[in-house]
């Protein structure tokens, strides 16, 4: 089985992928090997002979210097070994669950405000009226910056997202302009907390220290811009995908409205069957053999999160059920590079979904939707939804 995963019409959720998964745990692609089953994805995510697979992406497009290449090289995601562990140790405490728990009332108020603000009763364009402002304003809340500036965060993050596409080289001037704009934004956040420190995320990450070691000014800026970029688009898309999944499962939506305590389980179940990060990449550090497959040094592996999460070997019932016990999904990656911001994403989406279920009864498609390709990082571009309003 062979997949052309660079083809925009290729879908990780297609019948072709399901069939390949029945036949074998992997398939060949034009970018290396696609991994399709639960157990193999679980093992390869944290395999010691693999590194995270995106470090050389700019270089593959001939970009080896300049602000974008420098920023990319400084991502914690693109570091390995002790260099990675040092950054992770310094950054982790700012993302602690306790600190995020304190923001829950703000997430709830924000979700309610956005639903109250829908332009029309009984319908909305879910992405621009909820998912985008919610995701961007959560980041503004984290950074202690005025929430009304959210369109700037959303716009610049989307522009930087072009860097994930195959037209990276042509888009580079726009990407670097957006990067410059976000650096300005995070510099303002840091300046504010320098003069007015609080028990908040920015203050914590600025003061992050382990023994005598601290983040340098450059590492701090690069990490905060990565946080905006990494946190905004994924959350926005995942909320849109959640809405899509619940549109297909109205009984589950009604249940969530009645039982808001199922919010966290709903997030996990949505990310299992409809993750925005459709694959996690890894790169072989040396030649090795895994389950009978010879993998040469430098081979890229794409671990398909949805195919693995819905693998009947791991989830035999094949249902979408927010009350069922499920094995952990791969929507946040795993191993040393496990998503740094997962407590934030889990918390803000766990608050948003039950509130939406309560306020938007009987949701149904409200017109034609537009979608990103079902590969890479996916999600709706526009998702009109009609519903029965409720308090």
């Amino acid at each position: 089985m062979y997949f052309d995963i660079a083809d925009p019409s290729f879908s990780v959720q297609s019948e072709q992928v399901r069939k390949a998964r029945d036949e074998n745990w992997y398939a060949e692609t034009n970018y290396g090997v696609a991994v399709l089953r639960y157990e193999e994805t679980r093992l390869l995510l944290r395999h010691p002979k693999l590194r995270q697979g995106s470090a050389r992406w700019p270089a593959h497009h001939g970009i080896t210097s300049g602000p974008f290449a420098d920023w990319w090289a400084n991502w914690v995601l693109n570091k390995e070994g002790e260099e990675h562990h040092r950054l992770r140790r310094l950054m982790n405490p700012a993302f602690s669950r306790r600190l995020i728990d304190g923001l829950v009332p703000r997430f709830q108020a924000l979700a309610a405000e956005l639903v109250d603000g829908f332009a029309e009763p009984g319908r909305c364009e879910f992405m621009s009226e909820f998912a985008s402002p919610y995701a961007a304003r959560v980041i503004a809340i984290m950074l202690g910056l005025p929430e009304e500036e959210w369109p700037v965060l959303a716009r610049d993050s989307a522009t930087i997202g072009l860097a994930m596409g195959v037209t990276l080289r042509e888009d580079l001037p726009r990407i670097e302009a957006a990067l410059d704009s976000l650096y300005g934004y995070v510099d303002e956040a840091v300046d504010r907390r320098r003069s007015d420190p609080r028990d908040d995320f920015v203050t914590r990450i600025m003061r992050a220290q382990r023994d005598e070691d601290r983040l340098t000014a450059t590492e701090l800026r690069d990490s905060l811009v990565l946080l905006i970029f990494g946190g905004y688009d994924t959350t926005r898309n995942q909320l849109g995908l959640a809405m899509q999944t619940f549109l297909d499962h109205p009984d589950q939506w009604r249940l969530l409205a009645e039982r808001p305590d199922l919010g966290p389980a709903a997030v996990e179940e949505v990310m299992r069957v409809n993750p925005t990060v459709t694959w996690v990449t890894r790169e072989a550090l040396e030649d090795f053999t895994f389950q009978g497959l010879d993998i040469a040094a430098g081979t890229t592996l794409h671990l398909f999160t949805e195919a693995s999460g819905t693998d009947p070997r791991a989830v035999p019932d094949g249902r979408f059920d927010i009350t069922a016990e499920r094995p952990p999904h791969f929507g946040f990656g795993g191993g040393a590079h496990h998503c740094l911001g997962h407590f934030v994403a889990r918390s803000d989406m766990s608050e948003a979904l039950p509130l939406l279920a309560r306020r938007m009864r009987d949701p149904r498609p409200g017109g034609p939707s537009r979608w990103l390709p079902r590969s890479g990082n996916t999600g709706p571009i526009e998702l009109p939804v009609a519903f029965t309003p409720a308090e």
Binding site: L43, R46, P48, R88, R89, N92, G334, A336, H338, H342
Partner: protein, 62 residues
């Protein structure tokens, strides 16, 4: 200090081994190994490891 890990929950992500390498490590098979009675001076690092665990599987007693 007594450390326990809920091995039913543990997914061997190894974030604890990054936070507190003196106490937790991922072995060559990719599985977690840990010291269940670490020295008191490692408390901050162990608390950090418990905090950062993606599945919140680490418990510190006394």
């Amino acid at each position: 200090m007594k450390v326990t890990v809920d091995l039913d929950k543990c997914q061997d992500h190894g974030q604890c081994a990054i936070a507190a390498p003196e106490v937790f490590r991922i072995n060559d098979e990719g599985r977690l190994e840990f010291d269940d009675a670490p020295a008191e001076e490692l408390r901050d690092a162990v608390e950090e490891a418990a905090d950062v665990c993606p599945v919140q599987a680490i418990l510190i007693e006394d």
